[in-house]
C-alpha cells in the first residue's frame, strides 16, 4: 500500500500546498482546502485499522505519508493526526474526528476527569482533539477535546503553533488503559518518529531545491553546479538526506506493534543532526536569495530548525542509546545494534 499512499499524498499536496498557502498559514489562516482533501482521501486515518474506522494501512506504509508532510511543509497537524489515529487503533479505540494532536500530561485523572497541563502541543489551538497519557499507577490513554482547554499560544521557528493546553476537571471523550505493550513514553517516541520522517522529507525538498538552483544559477560564466566545491556540498546534502530517510523508515518498520525505542532513538538522533547540516548546506548553495522571505527555501529550513528539537533533540536521544550501550558492555553491543 506504500506506493499507493505516496502517489495519493503527492497528488493531493503538490498542487494545494503552495508557498502562498504556507505563508497565509503562518499568519494564522487554517488551510481548509488542504485538510478537506486530506480527509477526502482518507490520509489522516491511513494507518488506523478498519475496525477503528481507519483505512487499515500498516504503520510502515504510513512512513511515506509522514515524510511527504515534511517534504511539502504542510501547515497542519497531518503527521500528528496520522500518529494519533494509529495509536488509538493500537488501543482498540475509534479514530478521532478532524485534526488531532498529542502532548505529554502533567496532572491527575480522578473521578473520570482530567486536570493538568500539556506543554508544547503541536497545533493545539487548531486541533479538535489531543491524545495524552495520564501518569500514575494505572496509566490511561485519553482523548481530550482541545476546545475545553485554556490555551497559552506559542509558535516555533516555522510559526507552527506549539501551545500549552490546561484542562480543569475535563471528562475525556475516550479513555482506555494504556495497552501493556505501550510504554509511558509512547507519545514522546511516536512524536520523535514522525518528526524524523518529516525531517527526511524536508531534506529531500532542500536537495531538490539546491540542485535545481545549482544547475540554473550562473557565475563566472558557468552554472555554479559545475564547480567542485558546490558539487561536494550537494553530495553531502544528499548523504544527509539518505541517512535520515533510511533511519526514519527503519523506525516505522520496526514499530508495527508499537513505537520501538531503539530505532526511534537512532532515527531522531540521525535526523536531528542531518537537519542542521542540511539546512546549512542549502542556505550556502542558494546564497542571498535563499535568505529572503520571497524565496520558499525558508519554509523548509525553519521547520527543520524546530523539528530537530521537538520530541527530544539529538543529545536527548543519543544519550539514551549511549546509556543502553554502555550498560550492556561489549558483549551486548553488537546484538543490541542489530536487534531491530
Amino acid at each position: 500500500m506504500k506506493d499507493m499512499f505516496e502517489e495519493t499524498i503527492e497528488r493531493v499536496l503538490t498542487d494545494l500546498v503552495t508557498p502562498e498557502l504556507i505563508g497565509a498559514a503562518e499568519d494564522g489562516t487554517w488551510p481548509e482546502t488542504v485538510w478537506q482533501a486530506v480527509e477526502d482521501n482518507g490520509l489522516a486515518i491511513a494507518a488506523a485499522p478498519e475496525t477503528s474506522g481507519g483505512v487499515g494501512g500498516s504503520w510502515h506504509d504510513a512512513f511515506v505519508l509522514a515524510r511527504a508532510t515534511g517534504r511539502h511543509a504542510v501547515p497542519a497537524p497531518l503527521a500528528e493526526t496520522l500518529l494519533v489515529n494509529w495509536l488509538l487503533g493500537l488501543a482498540g479505540l475509534e479514530t478521532a474526528q478532524g485534526p488531532a494532536t498529542l502532548g505529554a500530561a502533567v496532572g491527575r485523572f480522578e473521578n473520570d476527569r482530567f486536570s493538568g497541563t500539556l506543554a508544547d502541543v503541536p497545533w493545539g489551538r487548531r486541533a479538535d482533539h489531543v491524545l495524552t497519557i495520564s501518569d500514575g499507577d494505572a496509566p490511561r490513554l485519553m482523548l481530550l477535546a482541545c476546545g475545553q482547554a485554556t490555551i497559552a499560544e506559542a509558535l516555533n521557528t516555522a510559526r507552527e503553533p506549539r501551545d500549552t493546553l490546561t484542562f480543569d476537571k475535563v471528562a475525556p471523550l475516550f479513555t482506555a488503559p494504556l495497552p501493556a505493550h505501550l510504554s509511558l513514553d509512547t507519545l514522546l517516541l511516536g512524536g520523535a518518529m514522525i518528526r524524523s520522517a518529516q525531517i527526511a522529507g524536508g531534506l529531500s525538498r532542500l536537495l531538490e531545491t539546491a540542485t535545481d538552483y545549482a544547475n540554473q544559477r550562473t557565475q563566472f560564466g558557468r552554472a555554479i553546479g559545475k564547480f567542485q566545491a558546490i558539487q561536494h556540498q550537494l553530495a553531502l546534502l544528499a548523504e544527509q538526506t539518505a541517512i535520515a530517510c533510511a533511519a526514519a523508515e527503519l523506525a516505522f518498520a520496526a514499530s508495527e506493534d508499537g513505537p520501538d525505542p531503539l530505532t526511534i532513538a537512532a532515527a531522531k538522533t540521525v535526523a536531528s543532526d542531518a537537519a542542521g547540516q542540511g539546512a546549512t548546506i542549502a542556505h550556502a548553495v542558494l546564497g542571498a536569495i535563499g535568505f529572503t522571505y520571497e524565496h520558499s527555501l525558508h519554509f523548509t529550513t525553519r521547520r527543520l530548525w524546530s523539528w530537530r528539537s521537538e520530541f527530544g533533540g539529538q543529545a536527548f536521544w543519543a544519550q539514551r542509546i549511549g546509556s543502553t550501550l554502555c550498560r550492556g558492555g561489549s558483549a551486548r553491543l553488537w546484538p543490541t545494534l542489530i536487534s531491530s
Binding site: 544547475n215 559545475k226 539518505a242 540521525v270 543519543a318 554502555c326
Partner: protein, 382 residues
Amino acid sequence: MRLTDFVHARIPADAEAFRTEIRTFLDREMQGIAPIVRADSWMGYDDAFSRKLGAAGLIGITMPKRYGGREAGAFARYVVSEELLAAGAPVSAHWIADRQSAPLLLRYGTEEQRERCIPGIVRGETYMCIGMSEPNAGSDLAAIGTRAVPARDGWVLNGCKIWTTNAHRSHYMIALVRTQERSDERHGGMSQFLIDLKAPGVTIRPIRDLSGEEHFNEVFFDDVALGRDTLIGTEGNGWQQVMAELAFERSGPERFLSSMALFHTLVDAIGPEPDALQAFQVGRIGAKLIALRAMSLAVTAQLDAGQDPAWAASCVKDIGTALEQELPEVAQLLLATEPRVDSGGDHARVLAYLTQLAPSFSLRGGTREILRGILARGLGVR
C-alpha cells in the same frame, strides 16, 4: 538522490538463519582472541582460519552448488559478513575472493576459469587480489598504462600495479590493464585478466604502511606470458566490468564496521555509567551504525534484484568510512587513555592501532572525493 534509493529491506528469514550458524562457528574459533588481533578486522590475515571457515561451508555461500557453494542469496552472505566483521574475525585471506572475485568470475569468466578458481575460493584455499591502481593512476583509474599485447598464445603483459592489498599472499590477481592504446574514448581499450602470481616475470614487493605492517604491495610485470584463457569477459569491456564490481565493494558492512573492535573496547573502558558526554557520543555513533546498516541492507536488496546501485553504494561508503574514521577521534576525546603500541590495556592498544589505520579507510576502494563526484553526477550537476 531519489526517495527510492534507500527503500527499507528486511533480512529474509532463510538468510537470518545463517546467523546462528556463523555465531556458533565464531564462538568456537574466536575464543581467547585478543582485542588487538580483532582490531585488524578484514585486514587480519589467517589462512588457517579461512580454511576452517571454508570447511564449515561459510565462504562463497552464494556460489552454485557445482562449485561447492550453497546457492544462498545476497542477504545470507550479508549476515555471515557482518557477523565476521563484528567479531573482528581474521578474514583478510579470503575476503576479496569471496566478495568480488568469485561473483565476477561467475558473471564474466569462462567455465575453465570458474573451475580453476571458485571451488578453491569456496574452500578458503584460493586467495585473490585486485590490481587496479598504478603509480600514475590512482583516483584517475582510466589513466592506467599496464599493457597486454597480443602474442602467439595469448598476451604478453608489461607494467606495474601498486597498493595491491594481499598481493604477497594471494594466488591470483584480477587486474585491469590496457589492451588498446589510450584513445579519445577514455573508458575504452581496457580488459580484465586472471593472472597467476607464480608466473615467471611477476615480482611482488610489499610496501610497509605507516604502522609498520605489510598489507599492500607493488607488483611488477616483466614480459609475463598470459594464456588465451586468462582474459575475463570481453576484451575492451574491462572498465564496465570493474564498475559493476564496485557496488559490491562499496556498499557492504566492511565500509562501516572496520572500527568495531574500538567501539567494543571503548564501551568497556567507559563502563556501565557513562557521563553525559560519553553517553552522547557513544549513542551518536550507535545511531549512525544502525542507520548505515539500514542503508547497506537497502543496497543489498538492489544488488540482489540485479540492479546497479552505484550511486547508493557510494553514499554508504562515504558516510560509513567517515564514521569508521570518527571512532578513534571520539575515543581519544572521551577518555584519558593514551594510545600504546606495545603495552597498556586492550583499549590503549586498539586505540593506537586503529588511529593509525583510520586514514586508509577513506582511501581504499575509492577516495572520498571520487565518491562525492559520483554522487554529484547522480544528482545531475556534473
